[in-house]
Subunit: 273 residues, 2 copies
Amino acid sequence: MATGRTHRPATRSRGIPEATVARLPLYLRALTALSERSVPTVSSEELAAAAGVNSAKLRKDFSYLGSYGTRGVGYDVEYLVYQISRELGLTQDWPVVIVGIGNLGAALANYGGFASRGFRVAALIDADPAMAGKPVAGLPVRHTDELESIISDNGVSIGVIATPAGAAQQVCDRLVAAGITSILNFAPTVLSVPDGVDVRKVDLSIELQILAFHEQRKAGEETTPATTPAVSPAIAPKTTPAAPSRTAAGAGAPAGAGSRKGPDGDVPAVMPA
Amino acid sequence: MATGRTHRPATRSRGIPEATVARLPLYLRALTALSERSVPTVSSEELAAAAGVNSAKLRKDFSYLGSYGTRGVGYDVEYLVYQISRELGLTQDWPVVIVGIGNLGAALANYGGFASRGFRVAALIDADPAMAGKPVAGLPVRHTDELESIISDNGVSIGVIATPAGAAQQVCDRLVAAGITSILNFAPTVLSVPDGVDVRKVDLSIELQILAFHEQRKAGEETTPATTPAVSPAIAPKTTPAAPSRTAAGAGAPAGAGSRKGPDGDVPAVMPA
DNA sequence: GTTTGTGAACAGTTTCACAGCT
DNA sequence: AGCTGTGAAACTGTTCACAAAC
Protein backbone atom coordinates (compact mmCIF):
# COMPACT_ATOMS: atom_id res chain seq x y z
CA MET A 1 0.00 0.00 0.00
CA ALA A 2 1.29 3.35 -0.94
CA THR A 3 2.08 4.92 2.33
CA GLY A 4 2.06 8.34 0.85
CA ARG A 5 -1.14 10.16 1.43
CA THR A 6 -3.22 7.94 3.56
CA HIS A 7 -6.31 9.91 4.22
CA ARG A 8 -8.24 12.37 2.19
CA PRO A 9 -6.25 14.44 -0.18
CA ALA A 10 -5.37 17.53 1.72
CA THR A 11 -7.75 19.60 -0.28
CA ARG A 12 -8.45 21.71 2.72
CA SER A 13 -10.02 24.51 0.85
CA ARG A 14 -13.21 23.10 -0.50
CA GLY A 15 -13.69 20.31 1.94
CA ILE A 16 -17.27 19.26 1.62
CA PRO A 17 -18.11 16.73 4.32
CA GLU A 18 -18.78 13.26 3.03
CA ALA A 19 -22.17 13.19 4.70
CA THR A 20 -23.10 16.31 2.79
CA VAL A 21 -21.92 14.90 -0.53
CA ALA A 22 -24.11 11.87 0.04
CA ARG A 23 -27.15 14.09 0.39
CA LEU A 24 -26.56 16.36 -2.58
CA PRO A 25 -28.08 13.85 -5.02
CA LEU A 26 -31.17 13.80 -2.86
CA TYR A 27 -31.51 17.54 -2.97
CA LEU A 28 -30.86 17.53 -6.66
CA ARG A 29 -33.65 15.08 -7.27
CA ALA A 30 -36.11 17.11 -5.25
CA LEU A 31 -35.04 20.29 -6.98
CA THR A 32 -35.37 18.73 -10.40
CA ALA A 33 -38.93 17.75 -9.59
CA LEU A 34 -39.67 21.33 -8.54
CA SER A 35 -38.02 22.62 -11.65
CA GLU A 36 -40.25 20.46 -13.81
CA ARG A 37 -43.24 21.97 -12.12
CA SER A 38 -41.78 25.39 -12.82
CA VAL A 39 -41.54 26.31 -9.17
CA PRO A 40 -39.23 29.33 -9.07
CA THR A 41 -38.03 29.28 -5.47
CA VAL A 42 -38.09 27.09 -2.37
CA SER A 43 -37.42 27.65 1.26
CA SER A 44 -35.07 25.36 3.13
CA GLU A 45 -38.10 24.11 5.01
CA GLU A 46 -39.97 23.02 1.90
CA LEU A 47 -36.98 21.53 0.17
CA ALA A 48 -35.94 19.69 3.29
CA ALA A 49 -39.37 18.14 3.56
CA ALA A 50 -39.22 17.01 -0.05
CA ALA A 51 -35.82 15.48 0.47
CA GLY A 52 -36.71 13.88 3.76
CA VAL A 53 -34.17 15.69 5.91
CA ASN A 54 -34.39 18.47 8.43
CA SER A 55 -34.05 22.04 7.35
CA ALA A 56 -31.12 23.02 9.53
CA LYS A 57 -29.12 20.20 8.09
CA LEU A 58 -30.01 21.23 4.58
CA ARG A 59 -28.98 24.81 5.19
CA LYS A 60 -25.69 23.72 6.63
CA ASP A 61 -25.12 21.42 3.69
CA PHE A 62 -25.72 24.25 1.26
CA SER A 63 -23.48 26.53 3.24
CA TYR A 64 -20.54 24.32 2.27
CA LEU A 65 -21.25 25.03 -1.38
CA GLY A 66 -21.52 28.75 -0.97
CA SER A 67 -24.14 31.32 -0.23
CA TYR A 68 -26.70 30.48 -2.81
CA GLY A 69 -29.84 31.52 -1.04
CA THR A 70 -31.61 34.78 -0.48
CA ARG A 71 -32.62 35.63 3.05
CA GLY A 72 -36.27 36.19 3.47
CA VAL A 73 -36.94 34.45 0.19
CA GLY A 74 -35.31 31.06 -0.18
CA TYR A 75 -33.36 29.37 -2.92
CA ASP A 76 -33.73 29.86 -6.64
CA VAL A 77 -34.56 26.42 -7.97
CA GLU A 78 -32.87 26.57 -11.37
CA TYR A 79 -29.78 28.15 -9.99
CA LEU A 80 -29.41 25.53 -7.28
CA VAL A 81 -29.97 22.70 -9.71
CA TYR A 82 -27.11 23.99 -11.74
CA GLN A 83 -24.81 24.59 -8.81
CA ILE A 84 -25.37 21.17 -7.30
CA SER A 85 -25.03 19.48 -10.66
CA ARG A 86 -21.77 21.20 -11.19
CA GLU A 87 -20.53 20.34 -7.73
CA LEU A 88 -21.36 16.69 -8.28
CA GLY A 89 -19.66 16.70 -11.63
CA LEU A 90 -22.84 16.08 -13.57
CA THR A 91 -22.31 18.87 -16.03
CA GLN A 92 -20.11 16.46 -17.85
CA ASP A 93 -21.00 13.07 -19.17
CA TRP A 94 -19.60 10.01 -17.46
CA PRO A 95 -19.29 6.88 -19.55
CA VAL A 96 -19.84 3.78 -17.46
CA VAL A 97 -19.25 0.09 -18.09
CA ILE A 98 -21.30 -2.65 -16.51
CA VAL A 99 -19.55 -5.95 -16.04
CA GLY A 100 -21.63 -9.06 -15.47
CA ILE A 101 -24.81 -9.12 -17.47
CA GLY A 102 -26.92 -11.57 -15.51
CA ASN A 103 -30.30 -10.76 -14.09
CA LEU A 104 -29.00 -7.86 -12.11
CA GLY A 105 -26.66 -6.49 -14.73
CA ALA A 106 -29.43 -6.53 -17.28
CA ALA A 107 -31.76 -4.79 -14.88
CA LEU A 108 -29.17 -2.10 -14.26
CA ALA A 109 -28.61 -1.68 -17.98
CA ASN A 110 -32.31 -1.12 -18.45
CA TYR A 111 -32.59 1.24 -15.55
CA GLY A 112 -33.64 4.61 -16.84
CA GLY A 113 -32.05 6.66 -14.12
CA PHE A 114 -28.74 5.85 -15.66
CA ALA A 115 -28.83 7.87 -18.77
CA SER A 116 -30.99 10.58 -17.35
CA ARG A 117 -28.40 12.47 -15.39
CA GLY A 118 -24.85 12.62 -16.51
CA PHE A 119 -24.23 8.94 -16.96
CA ARG A 120 -24.09 6.94 -20.14
CA VAL A 121 -23.71 3.21 -20.45
CA ALA A 122 -20.68 2.86 -22.68
CA ALA A 123 -20.65 -0.92 -22.75
CA LEU A 124 -22.00 -4.10 -21.25
CA ILE A 125 -19.41 -6.76 -20.62
CA ASP A 126 -19.83 -10.41 -19.77
CA ALA A 127 -17.53 -13.40 -19.53
CA ASP A 128 -19.97 -15.80 -21.14
CA PRO A 129 -19.12 -16.17 -24.84
CA ALA A 130 -22.71 -17.16 -25.51
CA MET A 131 -23.81 -13.71 -24.41
CA ALA A 132 -21.46 -11.89 -26.76
CA GLY A 133 -23.32 -9.88 -29.33
CA LYS A 134 -26.69 -10.39 -27.75
CA PRO A 135 -28.45 -7.08 -27.37
CA VAL A 136 -29.41 -6.00 -23.86
CA ALA A 137 -31.08 -2.66 -23.37
CA GLY A 138 -30.19 -1.79 -26.90
CA LEU A 139 -26.49 -2.50 -26.57
CA PRO A 140 -24.61 -5.56 -27.73
CA VAL A 141 -22.93 -7.45 -24.93
CA ARG A 142 -19.16 -7.50 -25.33
CA HIS A 143 -16.86 -10.21 -24.20
CA THR A 144 -14.52 -9.78 -21.26
CA ASP A 145 -11.53 -10.04 -23.56
CA GLU A 146 -12.36 -6.60 -24.81
CA LEU A 147 -12.56 -5.06 -21.36
CA GLU A 148 -9.28 -3.20 -21.50
CA SER A 149 -9.75 -1.80 -24.96
CA ILE A 150 -13.31 -0.72 -24.29
CA ILE A 151 -12.22 1.21 -21.25
CA SER A 152 -9.30 2.97 -22.81
CA ASP A 153 -11.05 3.65 -26.10
CA ASN A 154 -13.96 5.30 -24.36
CA GLY A 155 -12.08 6.94 -21.53
CA VAL A 156 -14.23 5.20 -18.98
CA SER A 157 -13.43 5.90 -15.37
CA ILE A 158 -16.47 4.42 -13.62
CA GLY A 159 -17.24 0.72 -13.56
CA VAL A 160 -20.16 -1.24 -12.20
CA ILE A 161 -19.56 -4.80 -11.06
CA ALA A 162 -22.60 -7.06 -11.18
CA THR A 163 -20.85 -10.39 -11.42
CA PRO A 164 -21.12 -13.32 -9.02
CA ALA A 165 -19.08 -12.85 -5.87
CA GLY A 166 -16.40 -15.23 -6.98
CA ALA A 167 -15.47 -13.21 -10.02
CA ALA A 168 -15.69 -9.77 -8.51
CA GLN A 169 -12.16 -9.27 -7.24
CA GLN A 170 -10.68 -10.51 -10.47
CA VAL A 171 -12.88 -8.22 -12.51
CA CYS A 172 -12.07 -5.40 -10.16
CA ASP A 173 -8.34 -5.90 -10.64
CA ARG A 174 -8.72 -5.79 -14.39
CA LEU A 175 -10.88 -2.70 -14.26
CA VAL A 176 -8.35 -0.92 -12.09
CA ALA A 177 -5.45 -2.00 -14.26
CA ALA A 178 -7.32 -0.66 -17.26
CA GLY A 179 -7.70 2.74 -15.68
CA ILE A 180 -10.99 2.67 -13.80
CA THR A 181 -10.83 4.76 -10.64
CA SER A 182 -14.39 4.49 -9.32
CA ILE A 183 -16.28 1.28 -8.78
CA LEU A 184 -19.83 0.53 -7.81
CA ASN A 185 -19.90 -3.02 -6.52
CA PHE A 186 -23.08 -5.08 -6.41
CA ALA A 187 -21.31 -8.35 -5.68
CA PRO A 188 -21.37 -9.46 -2.06
CA THR A 189 -17.64 -9.27 -1.53
CA VAL A 190 -15.16 -6.91 -0.02
CA LEU A 191 -13.04 -5.58 -2.84
CA SER A 192 -9.51 -4.53 -2.27
CA VAL A 193 -8.23 -1.77 -4.44
CA PRO A 194 -5.13 0.38 -4.52
CA ASP A 195 -5.06 3.82 -3.06
CA GLY A 196 -6.86 6.39 -5.10
CA VAL A 197 -9.62 4.10 -6.29
CA ASP A 198 -13.06 4.65 -4.80
CA VAL A 199 -15.40 1.78 -4.16
CA ARG A 200 -19.00 1.98 -3.11
CA LYS A 201 -21.03 -1.10 -2.51
CA VAL A 202 -24.67 -1.96 -2.76
CA ASP A 203 -25.59 -5.09 -0.93
CA LEU A 204 -29.08 -6.44 -0.70
CA SER A 205 -28.49 -8.94 2.02
CA ILE A 206 -26.69 -6.50 4.25
CA GLU A 207 -29.62 -4.13 4.01
CA LEU A 208 -32.05 -6.89 4.84
CA GLN A 209 -30.01 -7.98 7.80
CA ILE A 210 -29.97 -4.48 9.18
CA LEU A 211 -33.72 -4.35 8.83
CA ALA A 212 -34.03 -7.72 10.53
CA PHE A 213 -32.03 -6.45 13.47
CA HIS A 214 -34.42 -3.59 14.07
CA GLU A 215 -37.43 -5.74 13.32
CA GLN A 216 -36.38 -8.25 15.92
CA ARG A 217 -35.94 -5.54 18.45
CA LYS A 218 -39.39 -4.16 17.74
CA ALA A 219 -40.92 -7.58 18.21
CA GLY A 220 -39.04 -8.04 21.42
CA GLU A 221 -39.97 -4.81 23.07
CA GLU A 222 -43.62 -4.51 22.26
CA THR A 223 -44.57 -7.45 24.41
CA THR A 224 -42.06 -8.37 27.02
CA PRO A 225 -39.19 -6.22 28.10
CA ALA A 226 -37.52 -9.31 29.40
CA THR A 227 -35.31 -11.56 27.40
CA THR A 228 -36.82 -12.66 24.18
CA PRO A 229 -38.18 -16.15 24.40
CA ALA A 230 -36.32 -16.51 21.21
CA VAL A 231 -36.62 -18.86 18.45
CA SER A 232 -36.01 -22.31 17.38
CA PRO A 233 -33.47 -23.90 19.63
CA ALA A 234 -32.70 -26.06 16.67
CA ILE A 235 -30.00 -23.79 15.47
CA ALA A 236 -28.11 -23.70 18.68
CA PRO A 237 -24.40 -24.05 18.23
CA LYS A 238 -23.22 -27.51 17.90
CA THR A 239 -21.71 -29.42 20.69
CA THR A 240 -19.33 -27.12 22.34
CA PRO A 241 -17.32 -26.05 19.37
CA ALA A 242 -13.65 -25.69 19.55
CA ALA A 243 -14.35 -23.08 22.11
CA PRO A 244 -11.17 -22.51 23.94
CA SER A 245 -11.54 -23.79 27.42
CA ARG A 246 -14.11 -21.35 28.47
CA THR A 247 -15.18 -23.85 31.01
CA ALA A 248 -15.21 -23.53 34.71
CA ALA A 249 -13.65 -20.16 35.10
CA GLY A 250 -16.76 -18.08 34.73
CA ALA A 251 -19.44 -19.29 37.03
CA GLY A 252 -17.57 -18.84 40.22
CA ALA A 253 -16.30 -15.39 39.53
CA PRO A 254 -19.11 -13.00 40.28
CA ALA A 255 -18.67 -9.65 38.70
CA GLY A 256 -15.47 -9.27 40.56
CA ALA A 257 -13.41 -8.19 37.65
CA GLY A 258 -16.03 -5.80 36.50
CA SER A 259 -15.78 -6.78 32.89
CA ARG A 260 -19.14 -7.46 31.48
CA LYS A 261 -19.74 -10.91 30.15
CA GLY A 262 -22.09 -11.67 27.39
CA PRO A 263 -25.69 -10.60 27.38
CA ASP A 264 -27.53 -10.97 30.59
CA GLY A 265 -26.85 -14.62 30.91
CA ASP A 266 -28.82 -16.12 28.13
CA VAL A 267 -26.00 -17.65 26.25
CA PRO A 268 -26.77 -21.13 25.09
CA ALA A 269 -24.23 -23.87 25.15
CA VAL A 270 -20.64 -22.99 25.58
CA MET A 271 -21.70 -21.45 28.81
CA PRO A 272 -20.33 -22.87 32.00
CA ALA A 273 -23.54 -24.65 32.71
CA MET B 1 -49.47 14.99 11.29
CA ALA B 2 -48.57 12.14 13.48
CA THR B 3 -45.70 14.12 14.77
CA GLY B 4 -46.01 12.55 18.13
CA ARG B 5 -42.74 11.27 19.31
CA THR B 6 -40.10 12.09 16.83
CA HIS B 7 -36.98 10.57 18.20
CA ARG B 8 -36.01 7.02 18.85
CA PRO B 9 -38.21 5.11 21.20
CA ALA B 10 -36.10 4.93 24.28
CA THR B 11 -34.35 1.74 23.45
CA ARG B 12 -34.33 0.36 26.91
CA SER B 13 -32.18 -2.65 26.35
CA ARG B 14 -28.63 -2.57 25.16
CA GLY B 15 -27.75 0.14 22.74
CA ILE B 16 -25.70 -1.17 19.90
CA PRO B 17 -24.56 1.79 17.81
CA GLU B 18 -26.13 1.95 14.40
CA ALA B 19 -22.74 2.01 12.73
CA THR B 20 -21.89 -1.22 14.45
CA VAL B 21 -25.13 -2.87 13.42
CA ALA B 22 -24.38 -1.96 9.83
CA ARG B 23 -21.08 -3.79 10.03
CA LEU B 24 -22.27 -6.96 11.70
CA PRO B 25 -23.46 -8.47 8.41
CA LEU B 26 -20.01 -7.87 7.02
CA TYR B 27 -18.35 -9.70 9.88
CA LEU B 28 -20.88 -12.45 9.60
CA ARG B 29 -20.10 -12.98 5.97
CA ALA B 30 -16.38 -13.15 6.60
CA LEU B 31 -16.91 -15.52 9.50
CA THR B 32 -19.15 -17.76 7.47
CA ALA B 33 -16.46 -18.07 4.85
CA LEU B 34 -13.94 -19.02 7.53
CA SER B 35 -16.37 -21.48 8.98
CA GLU B 36 -16.76 -23.19 5.63
CA ARG B 37 -13.03 -23.60 5.51
CA SER B 38 -13.17 -25.07 8.98
CA VAL B 39 -10.98 -22.39 10.47
CA PRO B 40 -11.46 -22.68 14.22
CA THR B 41 -10.38 -19.25 15.45
CA VAL B 42 -9.49 -15.83 14.13
CA SER B 43 -7.76 -12.84 15.56
CA SER B 44 -9.32 -9.43 15.31
CA GLU B 45 -6.55 -8.53 12.93
CA GLU B 46 -7.28 -11.32 10.48
CA LEU B 47 -11.03 -10.95 10.63
CA ALA B 48 -10.79 -7.21 10.24
CA ALA B 49 -8.71 -7.64 7.12
CA ALA B 50 -11.25 -10.04 5.67
CA ALA B 51 -14.07 -7.66 6.39
CA GLY B 52 -12.22 -4.62 5.16
CA VAL B 53 -12.20 -2.65 8.39
CA ASN B 54 -9.57 -1.86 10.95
CA SER B 55 -9.04 -4.14 13.87
CA ALA B 56 -9.61 -1.65 16.66
CA LYS B 57 -13.01 -0.86 15.20
CA LEU B 58 -13.87 -4.51 14.98
CA ARG B 59 -12.92 -5.15 18.57
CA LYS B 60 -14.96 -2.24 19.75
CA ASP B 61 -17.90 -3.44 17.69
CA PHE B 62 -17.71 -6.86 19.27
CA SER B 63 -17.37 -5.36 22.70
CA TYR B 64 -20.93 -4.09 22.36
CA LEU B 65 -22.14 -7.63 21.96
CA GLY B 66 -20.25 -8.98 24.91
CA SER B 67 -16.91 -10.49 25.67
CA TYR B 68 -16.77 -13.23 23.13
CA GLY B 69 -13.04 -13.43 22.52
CA THR B 70 -10.15 -15.04 24.29
CA ARG B 71 -7.13 -12.89 24.96
CA GLY B 72 -3.99 -14.18 23.43
CA VAL B 73 -6.01 -16.42 21.14
CA GLY B 74 -8.75 -14.65 19.25
CA TYR B 75 -12.38 -15.44 18.53
CA ASP B 76 -13.97 -18.82 18.09
CA VAL B 77 -15.44 -18.74 14.61
CA GLU B 78 -18.50 -20.95 15.13
CA TYR B 79 -19.40 -19.29 18.35
CA LEU B 80 -19.18 -15.82 16.86
CA VAL B 81 -21.22 -16.82 13.84
CA TYR B 82 -23.95 -17.92 16.16
CA GLN B 83 -23.81 -14.87 18.38
CA ILE B 84 -23.90 -12.42 15.52
CA SER B 85 -26.66 -14.31 13.78
CA ARG B 86 -28.70 -14.20 16.91
CA GLU B 87 -28.02 -10.53 17.44
CA LEU B 88 -29.14 -9.77 13.91
CA GLY B 89 -32.24 -11.84 14.30
CA LEU B 90 -31.20 -14.38 11.72
CA THR B 91 -31.89 -17.40 13.86
CA GLN B 92 -35.46 -16.98 12.78
CA ASP B 93 -36.86 -16.94 9.32
CA TRP B 94 -38.11 -13.71 7.86
CA PRO B 95 -40.69 -13.94 5.11
CA VAL B 96 -40.33 -11.12 2.61
CA VAL B 97 -42.54 -9.83 -0.17
CA ILE B 98 -41.20 -8.17 -3.27
CA VAL B 99 -43.50 -5.68 -4.93
CA GLY B 100 -42.85 -4.69 -8.51
CA ILE B 101 -41.62 -7.53 -10.66
CA GLY B 102 -39.93 -5.69 -13.49
CA ASN B 103 -36.34 -6.17 -14.46
CA LEU B 104 -35.08 -5.30 -11.04
CA GLY B 105 -37.75 -7.13 -9.07
CA ALA B 106 -37.11 -10.28 -11.06
CA ALA B 107 -33.39 -9.95 -10.52
CA LEU B 108 -33.95 -9.61 -6.79
CA ALA B 109 -36.25 -12.62 -6.75
CA ASN B 110 -33.54 -14.65 -8.41
CA TYR B 111 -30.83 -13.40 -6.15
CA GLY B 112 -29.46 -16.30 -4.20
CA GLY B 113 -28.34 -14.37 -1.17
CA PHE B 114 -31.96 -13.96 -0.29
CA ALA B 115 -32.86 -17.42 0.82
CA SER B 116 -29.44 -18.24 2.07
CA ARG B 117 -29.54 -16.45 5.36
CA GLY B 118 -32.71 -16.10 7.28
CA PHE B 119 -34.83 -14.63 4.52
CA ARG B 120 -37.45 -16.31 2.43
CA VAL B 121 -39.34 -14.82 -0.48
CA ALA B 122 -42.95 -15.31 0.54
CA ALA B 123 -44.47 -13.75 -2.55
CA LEU B 124 -43.86 -11.67 -5.64
CA ILE B 125 -46.45 -9.02 -6.30
CA ASP B 126 -47.09 -6.93 -9.36
CA ALA B 127 -49.80 -4.56 -10.50
CA ASP B 128 -49.82 -5.77 -14.07
CA PRO B 129 -52.63 -8.31 -14.55
CA ALA B 130 -50.71 -9.79 -17.44
CA MET B 131 -47.97 -10.81 -15.04
CA ALA B 132 -50.30 -12.61 -12.67
CA GLY B 133 -49.57 -16.29 -12.48
CA LYS B 134 -46.40 -16.09 -14.48
CA PRO B 135 -43.62 -17.87 -12.67
CA VAL B 136 -40.56 -15.86 -11.71
CA ALA B 137 -37.77 -17.53 -9.83
CA GLY B 138 -40.05 -20.44 -9.23
CA LEU B 139 -42.85 -18.43 -7.71
CA PRO B 140 -46.06 -17.34 -9.38
CA VAL B 141 -46.51 -13.58 -9.53
CA ARG B 142 -49.54 -12.45 -7.55
CA HIS B 143 -51.66 -9.45 -8.32
CA THR B 144 -51.59 -6.35 -6.18
CA ASP B 145 -55.17 -6.96 -5.14
CA GLU B 146 -53.92 -9.77 -2.98
CA LEU B 147 -51.27 -7.71 -1.27
CA GLU B 148 -53.05 -7.33 2.04
CA SER B 149 -54.09 -10.94 2.36
CA ILE B 150 -50.67 -12.25 1.40
CA ILE B 151 -49.05 -10.17 4.08
CA SER B 152 -51.40 -11.06 6.86
CA ASP B 153 -51.67 -14.72 5.91
CA ASN B 154 -47.92 -15.13 5.95
CA GLY B 155 -47.11 -12.81 8.81
CA VAL B 156 -44.78 -10.81 6.63
CA SER B 157 -43.11 -7.85 8.24
CA ILE B 158 -40.46 -6.97 5.66
CA GLY B 159 -41.29 -5.63 2.22
CA VAL B 160 -39.13 -4.80 -0.76
CA ILE B 161 -40.30 -2.11 -3.15
CA ALA B 162 -38.99 -2.42 -6.70
CA THR B 163 -41.71 -0.50 -8.51
CA PRO B 164 -41.31 2.61 -10.64
CA ALA B 165 -40.89 5.77 -8.60
CA GLY B 166 -44.40 6.92 -9.27
CA ALA B 167 -46.00 3.93 -7.61
CA ALA B 168 -43.66 3.60 -4.66
CA GLN B 169 -45.40 5.79 -2.10
CA GLN B 170 -48.74 4.26 -2.84
CA VAL B 171 -47.38 0.75 -2.51
CA CYS B 172 -45.59 1.78 0.64
CA ASP B 173 -48.80 3.05 2.19
CA ARG B 174 -50.56 -0.20 1.45
CA LEU B 175 -47.70 -2.27 2.82
CA VAL B 176 -47.67 -0.29 6.01
CA ALA B 177 -51.42 -0.46 6.37
CA ALA B 178 -51.20 -4.21 5.92
CA GLY B 179 -48.74 -4.52 8.77
CA ILE B 180 -45.29 -4.23 7.22
CA THR B 181 -42.85 -2.49 9.54
CA SER B 182 -39.59 -2.68 7.59
CA ILE B 183 -39.14 -1.59 4.01
CA LEU B 184 -36.27 -1.85 1.61
CA ASN B 185 -36.84 0.70 -1.12
CA PHE B 186 -35.25 0.45 -4.54
CA ALA B 187 -37.42 3.12 -6.12
CA PRO B 188 -35.80 6.53 -6.46
CA THR B 189 -38.18 8.33 -4.15
CA VAL B 190 -38.28 9.52 -0.61
CA LEU B 191 -40.90 7.46 1.18
CA SER B 192 -42.78 8.84 4.09
CA VAL B 193 -43.87 6.38 6.69
CA PRO B 194 -45.37 6.58 10.14
CA ASP B 195 -43.31 6.31 13.24
CA GLY B 196 -42.10 2.84 14.00
CA VAL B 197 -41.60 1.80 10.42
CA ASP B 198 -38.02 1.45 9.21
CA VAL B 199 -37.04 2.30 5.69
CA ARG B 200 -33.72 1.68 4.04
CA LYS B 201 -33.07 2.71 0.51
CA VAL B 202 -30.85 1.46 -2.24
CA ASP B 203 -30.37 3.94 -5.00
CA LEU B 204 -28.19 3.37 -7.99
CA SER B 205 -28.10 6.90 -9.25
CA ILE B 206 -27.25 8.36 -5.88
CA GLU B 207 -24.30 6.03 -5.60
CA LEU B 208 -23.12 6.94 -9.06
CA GLN B 209 -23.41 10.63 -8.33
CA ILE B 210 -21.32 10.26 -5.21
CA LEU B 211 -18.68 8.47 -7.24
CA ALA B 212 -18.82 11.19 -9.87
CA PHE B 213 -18.17 13.81 -7.24
CA HIS B 214 -14.97 12.15 -6.13
CA GLU B 215 -14.01 11.30 -9.66
CA GLN B 216 -14.29 14.90 -10.68
CA ARG B 217 -12.15 15.93 -7.80
CA LYS B 218 -9.47 13.44 -8.72
CA ALA B 219 -9.38 14.69 -12.27
CA GLY B 220 -9.01 18.21 -11.04
CA GLU B 221 -6.16 17.65 -8.66
CA GLU B 222 -3.94 15.18 -10.41
CA THR B 223 -2.41 17.65 -12.80
CA THR B 224 -2.74 21.19 -11.70
CA PRO B 225 -4.14 22.24 -8.41
CA ALA B 226 -5.89 25.03 -10.23
CA THR B 227 -7.40 23.41 -13.27
CA THR B 228 -10.68 24.91 -12.44
CA PRO B 229 -11.29 28.56 -13.11
CA ALA B 230 -10.84 31.14 -10.50
CA VAL B 231 -12.05 28.97 -7.72
CA SER B 232 -11.97 30.91 -4.60
CA PRO B 233 -10.89 28.60 -1.85
CA ALA B 234 -13.12 29.75 0.85
CA ILE B 235 -16.43 31.36 0.50
CA ALA B 236 -16.02 34.73 -1.00
CA PRO B 237 -19.49 35.95 -1.77
CA LYS B 238 -18.54 39.53 -2.07
CA THR B 239 -20.78 40.40 -4.91
CA THR B 240 -24.43 39.80 -4.60
CA PRO B 241 -25.07 36.09 -4.51
CA ALA B 242 -27.84 34.42 -6.31
CA ALA B 243 -29.90 37.18 -7.72
CA PRO B 244 -33.45 37.05 -6.59
CA SER B 245 -34.93 38.66 -9.67
CA ARG B 246 -34.78 35.68 -11.90
CA THR B 247 -38.27 35.52 -13.10
CA ALA B 248 -37.90 34.03 -16.49
CA ALA B 249 -36.71 30.51 -16.44
CA GLY B 250 -34.18 29.89 -19.07
CA ALA B 251 -32.28 32.27 -21.19
CA GLY B 252 -32.96 35.44 -19.31
CA ALA B 253 -30.73 34.67 -16.44
CA PRO B 254 -28.27 37.43 -16.33
CA ALA B 255 -28.16 37.79 -12.65
CA GLY B 256 -26.03 35.10 -11.24
CA ALA B 257 -23.32 37.59 -10.68
CA GLY B 258 -20.66 35.10 -9.92
CA SER B 259 -20.76 34.86 -6.25
CA ARG B 260 -17.75 32.66 -6.48
CA LYS B 261 -17.71 30.59 -9.53
CA GLY B 262 -17.70 32.42 -12.58
CA PRO B 263 -19.12 32.61 -16.00
CA ASP B 264 -22.31 30.75 -16.37
CA GLY B 265 -25.79 31.88 -16.63
CA ASP B 266 -27.40 28.89 -15.24
CA VAL B 267 -29.43 26.59 -17.35
CA PRO B 268 -29.37 22.86 -17.01
CA ALA B 269 -27.06 22.25 -19.84
CA VAL B 270 -23.64 20.89 -20.29
CA MET B 271 -21.31 23.76 -20.62
CA PRO B 272 -18.48 23.70 -18.18
CA ALA B 273 -15.02 24.50 -19.32
C1' DG C 1 5.00 -14.15 24.12
C1' DT C 2 0.10 -12.87 21.92
C1' DT C 3 -4.38 -10.64 21.59
C1' DT C 4 -8.54 -8.87 23.65
C1' DG C 5 -11.36 -5.18 25.75
C1' DT C 6 -11.80 -0.45 26.79
C1' DG C 7 -11.08 4.37 28.65
C1' DA C 8 -9.73 8.47 26.68
C1' DA C 9 -8.60 11.46 22.89
C1' DC C 10 -10.00 12.70 18.58
C1' DA C 11 -12.89 13.44 14.41
C1' DG C 12 -17.07 13.88 12.11
C1' DT C 13 -22.08 14.96 12.09
C1' DT C 14 -26.37 16.84 13.66
C1' DT C 15 -29.06 20.04 16.04
C1' DC C 16 -29.85 24.35 18.27
C1' DA C 17 -30.69 29.06 18.32
C1' DC C 18 -30.00 33.45 16.83
C1' DA C 19 -27.61 37.33 14.42
C1' DG C 20 -28.07 39.44 10.18
C1' DC C 21 -29.93 40.23 5.66
C1' DT C 22 -34.11 41.06 2.68
C1' DA D 1 -42.72 40.32 8.84
C1' DG D 2 -39.65 35.88 6.79
C1' DC D 3 -35.59 33.12 5.89
C1' DT D 4 -30.76 32.10 5.40
C1' DG D 5 -26.15 31.29 7.20
C1' DT D 6 -23.40 29.89 10.97
C1' DG D 7 -21.08 29.65 15.51
C1' DA D 8 -21.54 26.72 19.42
C1' DA D 9 -23.34 22.75 21.74
C1' DA D 10 -24.58 18.07 21.62
C1' DC D 11 -24.12 13.82 19.84
C1' DT D 12 -22.14 9.83 17.25
C1' DG D 13 -18.45 7.35 15.49
C1' DT D 14 -13.33 6.22 15.07
C1' DT D 15 -8.69 5.64 16.50
C1' DC D 16 -5.17 5.32 19.96
C1' DA D 17 -2.70 2.97 23.29
C1' DC D 18 -2.24 0.10 27.06
C1' DA D 19 -3.63 -2.75 31.12
C1' DA D 20 -5.54 -7.19 31.78
C1' DA D 21 -5.97 -11.90 30.44
C1' DC D 22 -4.34 -15.91 28.34
